[in-house]
C-alpha cells in the first residue's frame, strides 16, 4: 500500500467514490466525489496529536476494530493507513454536527492542519481504462440469529478474532473473553453464510484456510481446547494441505458437521452439531465461539456495476467475460476486474488477478488503438428521419441524435441488431447481418430444386 501511495505515477484519491462515468474504451470520463477530511493533507504529518486530544476519543465504534475497539471523531483509521493522515468523522464530530466543541483537536495541532470549512468536491478525470477491485464484505448475520452473533458477548466473527490476535489490537494480542478471562475452550464454526441454499450457495473459498490459521493461533496464544466444526476442509493451494496436516497434529479437534446453533448454558456456549463421522448428535460446551463468515460482494457493487455498465452474475459478483479464458475482462471493452469483487478468492489469487488486469490494461493502452468488432450498426443519414426510436432501443446507449440524424458510436455498439430491427425505414445497416443477407439466406433455405417443381 505504501509503495502505491508513494509511486510518482499513481494518484491516490482516498475518501472518494465514483459517482458517474461516460464514454468508451480509451476515452472514459469518470466523475468522482471527494469527501472532505476537514484536514489539510499537505500540512498534516500524521503525528496523532489531534487523535489524542479529540473530546470523543474512545467513544465511537472503530470500523477497523470490527466493533472490538473504539475511536474518536478525529482519528487515523489504523497505524499503517495510507495516507497516514488524520480525518474527522462528520457523522460524529460535535463541532460539525452541532457547532459546539472546545476544538481541542485544533489547539493540539501544531501545524494548523484542521480545516472545518472544507467542502465536498466533484472532479472529473479522463482515463483510457478502468480496473474494478471493489472487494468484498462479510455475510450479514441478521438472518442467522441461531448462532448468537450480536446476542452473546463471546460469539465473534473471524475478523474480530483476528483483532484479538493482533498485537496492535484492542487486547494487545491476547485472546480474551468479554470479561477479560482467558478462554479454556474455543469453537470455530465453518461455512456460516456459505454453501447453503438459505444463505449463499457458493463456497467462500478462503475461510477453511483462514480458520485453520486462527485455530493455530488460538492454540499458540492460549491453552484452550480448540474445536473446528466443518463440512469439508478446502485446502487446495500451494502448501495448504500440509498446513492442514500440521494443524491436525497440533491438536485441534475436528468435528465433521456444520454447527446448527449456539445456546447459552451454565455460563458456557453450547455448540450443537451432528458429527457425521460418528453418526451422532453432539453438544459441545465452549467459552468462545468464532464464526467463519461467508463472503458477499461488497456493499457498493450494485451501484458500481450500474455506473460502469458491467454485468453481474447471479451470485452478485461482477461477471467476467469468460470464466476460463478471460477471467479479468468484462464484456465492456476497457473495463477490467480483479480480486474478490469477481468471485471469492484469497491473497495469492487476488494478486495474480490484479497483475493480469494491470497487464491487460497496459497492453490496451500501449497499443494506442483498439480493434473493433466489424459487426456493428451504421446509420444511412439520407434515410434517417430522426425519429429516435433506435436511440431508445439500444441497450448500450450507443446511438445518439446529432442534428436530427441518428449516429452510432461503433466503439459502444455490440452488434446486437436491436436498432436494425426497430428502424421502420431501414435506415440502419446491421453489418454482417444485413436485411438483404438474411433474406438471401432465407431464400436459399426455402429454395425448391427445379427438378421437383418440374415433375408435375
Amino acid at each position: 500500500m505504501m509503495d502505491a501511495g508513494r509511486h510518482p505515477n499513481i494518484e491516490l484519491l482516498t475518501y472518494s467514490e465514483v459517482v458517474g462515468m461516460e464514454g468508451f474504451v480509451g476515452n472514459f470520463r469518470v466523475r468522482i466525489r471527494r469527501k472532505p477530511r476537514f484536514v489539510d493533507t499537505d500540512l498534516c504529518t500524521g503525528c496523532g496529536l489531534c487523535v489524542e486530544a479529540c473530546v470523543l476519543k474512545n467513544r465511537i465504534p472503530a470500523e477497523f476494530e470490527v466493533g472490538m475497539g473504539k475511536r474518536g471523531a478525529a482519528y487515523i483509521p489504523f497505524p499503517q493507513a495510507v495516507p497516514l493522515k488524520a480525518v474527522i468523522d462528520a457523522e460524529h464530530c460535535l463541532y460539525l454536527k452541532r457547532g459546539k466543541c472546545s476544538q481541542k483537536c485544533v489547539k493540539a495541532c501544531e501545524r494548523g492542519a484542521i480545516q472545518f470549512d472544507q467542502t465536498e468536491e466533484i472532479i472529473e478525470v479522463q482515463v483510457g481504462t478502468v480496473i474494478l477491485a471493489t472487494g468484498t464484505d462479510m455475510y450479514d448475520m441478521k438472518d442467522l440469529p441461531q448462532y448468537g452473533y450480536g446476542i452473546y458477548p463471546n460469539v465473534l466473527d473471524s475478523l474480530q478474532f483476528e483483532r484479538l490476535c493482533s498485537a496492535a489490537g484492542p487486547t494487545g494480542g491476547q485472546v480474551l473473553l468479554a470479561d477479560g478471562r482467558v478462554p479454556e475452550s474455543i469453537a470455530f464454526l465453518h461455512c456460516i453464510g456459505s454453501r447453503d441454499e438459505h444463505t449463499n450457495r457458493y463456497c467462500s473459498r478462503l475461510c477453511c484456510m483462514h480458520t485453520l490459521k486462527l485455530a493455530h493461533l488460538a492454540l499458540e496464544k492460549t491453552h484452550a481446547r480448540v474445536y473446528e466444526f466443518y463440512i469439508d476442509i478446502r485446502s487446495g493451494g500451494k502448501r495448504y494441505e500440509e498446513f492442514y496436516e500440521r494443524v491436525q497434529e497440533e491438536g485441534v479437534i475436528f468435528i465433521r458437521g456444520k454447527a446448527s446453533e449456539v445456546l447459552p448454558e451454565d455460563g458456557k456456549l453450547v455448540v450443537k452439531a451432528e458429527d457425521t463421522l460418528l453418526g451422532r448428535l453432539v453438544s459441545v460446551p465452549v467459552d468462545m465461539v468464532v464464526l467463519a463468515l461467508g463472503m458477499t460482494p461488497s456493499k457498493g457493487t450494485v451501484e458500481v456495476a450500474r455506473i460502469f455498465g458491467v454485468s453481474r452474475s447471479d451470485d452478485g459478483y461482477f461477471m467476467e467475460a469468460h470464466p476460463k479464458l478471460r477471467p479479468v475482462d468484462t464484456n465492456t471493452d476497457g473495463i477490467f476486474v480483479a480480486g474478490c469483487c469477481q468471485a471469492p478468492k484469497d491473497i495469492p489469487d487476488t494478486v495474480a488477478q490484479a497483475s493480469a488486469a494491470a497487464a491487460k490494461a497496459m497492453a490496451l493502452m500501449t497499443r494506442g488503438q483498439v480493434m473493433e468488432d466489424p459487426v456493428v450498426a451504421e446509420v444511412i443519414p439520407e434515410r434517417c428521419v430522426g425519429c429516435g426510436e433506435c436511440v431508445l432501443s439500444c441497450p448500450y446507449k450507443a446511438i445518439t441524435l446529432m442534428e436530427g440524424k441518428a449516429v452510432v458510436n461503433s466503439a459502444l455498439c455490440k452488434g446486437c441488431g436491436t436498432c436494425v430491427g426497430t428502424c421502420l425505414g431501414h435506415a440502419i445497416i446491421g453489418h454482417q447481418f444485413t436485411h438483404d443477407a438474411i433474406l438471401m439466406e432465407v431464400r436459399g433455405l426455402l429454395h425448391e430444386p427445379e427438378q421437383v417443381r418440374a415433375s408435375v
Binding site: 459487426v375 434515410r383 441488431g417 436494425v420 430491427g421 428502424c423 445497416i429 426455402l446 417443381r453 408435375v456
Partner: protein, 177 residues
C-alpha cells in the same frame, strides 16, 4: 442430379396454384438468437435429440434483430411457418433485445390475418442455451401445428407485398435511390 428424399413432397404447380399432397412437409424458418436459442439448438444436437428436419435455422445476434417486415418477407419467400426464438427475460446477452421482440412478434401475429396468414403460423418462444430438450419439443410441436394448417397459400402474384427487394440498404443503392 439431386437425389430426392421420399419425405419431401412434390408440389404440383399449375396455373399459379399450390396444392397440398398427403405427404405435405412444412417448410419452417426459425430465427434463433446466437447466444441462447441457437446454442440451445446446438445443445439438442449434442444430446442427439430427435426433432423434425423441417426447420431451417437462420442465426441472428439477438432476437431483437428480427423486424416484422423480415418475418413477412419470409412467409412470402415460401415459408409455411416462422419461429422466433430468443433468450428468457433477464438473460438476453444484449440486456434488453428480447423485450423488444416480446412486444413486436405478438403485435405482428395480430396483423397477420390482414395479409391472409393464420396467426398460428408465427411462433415466439424463449429457449436458453442449455434447453436442448425444450428446443426439440418446441420445434416438434410447431411442425405438427403447421402440418395441420397445411401449406401457406400465399402466391407472390396475389400478395400485397412487392415481390422484388425494394428495400435494399447498401450505401451505394441508398445514394442512388
Amino acid at each position: 442430379m439431386l437425389i430426392l428424399s421420399p419425405r419431401f413432397d412434390k408440389r404440383r404447380v399449375s396455373e399459379g396454384e399450390i396444392l397440398a399432397t398427403d405427404s405435405f412437409e412444412p417448410r419452417i424458418v426459425g430465427f434463433l438468437c446466437n447466444w441462447c436459442s441457437y446454442a440451445g439448438a446446438d445443445n439438442a444436437g449434442l444430446g442427439r435429440l430427435k426433432y423434425p428436419e423441417n426447420i431451417r435455422i437462420v442465426r441472428v445476434r439477438c432476437s431483437g434483430r428480427v423486424a416484422p417486415d423480415l418475418v413477412l418477407r419470409t412467409f412470402q419467400e415460401g415459408a409455411d411457418g416462422v419461429m422466433v426464438l430468443g433468450c428468457h427475460f433477464g438473460d438476453c446477452h444484449y440486456v434488453s433485445g428480447n423485450y423488444r421482440t416480446a412486444k413486436r412478434i405478438p403485435m405482428l401475429r395480430k396483423l397477420l390475418e390482414v395479409f391472409g396468414i393464420e396467426p398460428e403460423r408465427l411462433r415466439l418462444e424463449w429457449v436458453s442455451a442449455s434447453e436442448g430438450q425444450r428446443f426439440a419439443e418446441v420445434v416438434t410441436e410447431f411442425t405438427e401445428t403447421i402440418r395441420r394448417l397445411g401449406p401457406l397459400d400465399l402466391h407472390p402474384k396475389r400478395s400485397t407485398i412487392p415481390a422484388s427487394g425494394a428495400t435494399s440498404e447498401t450505401r451505394e443503392n441508398a445514394v442512388h435511390a
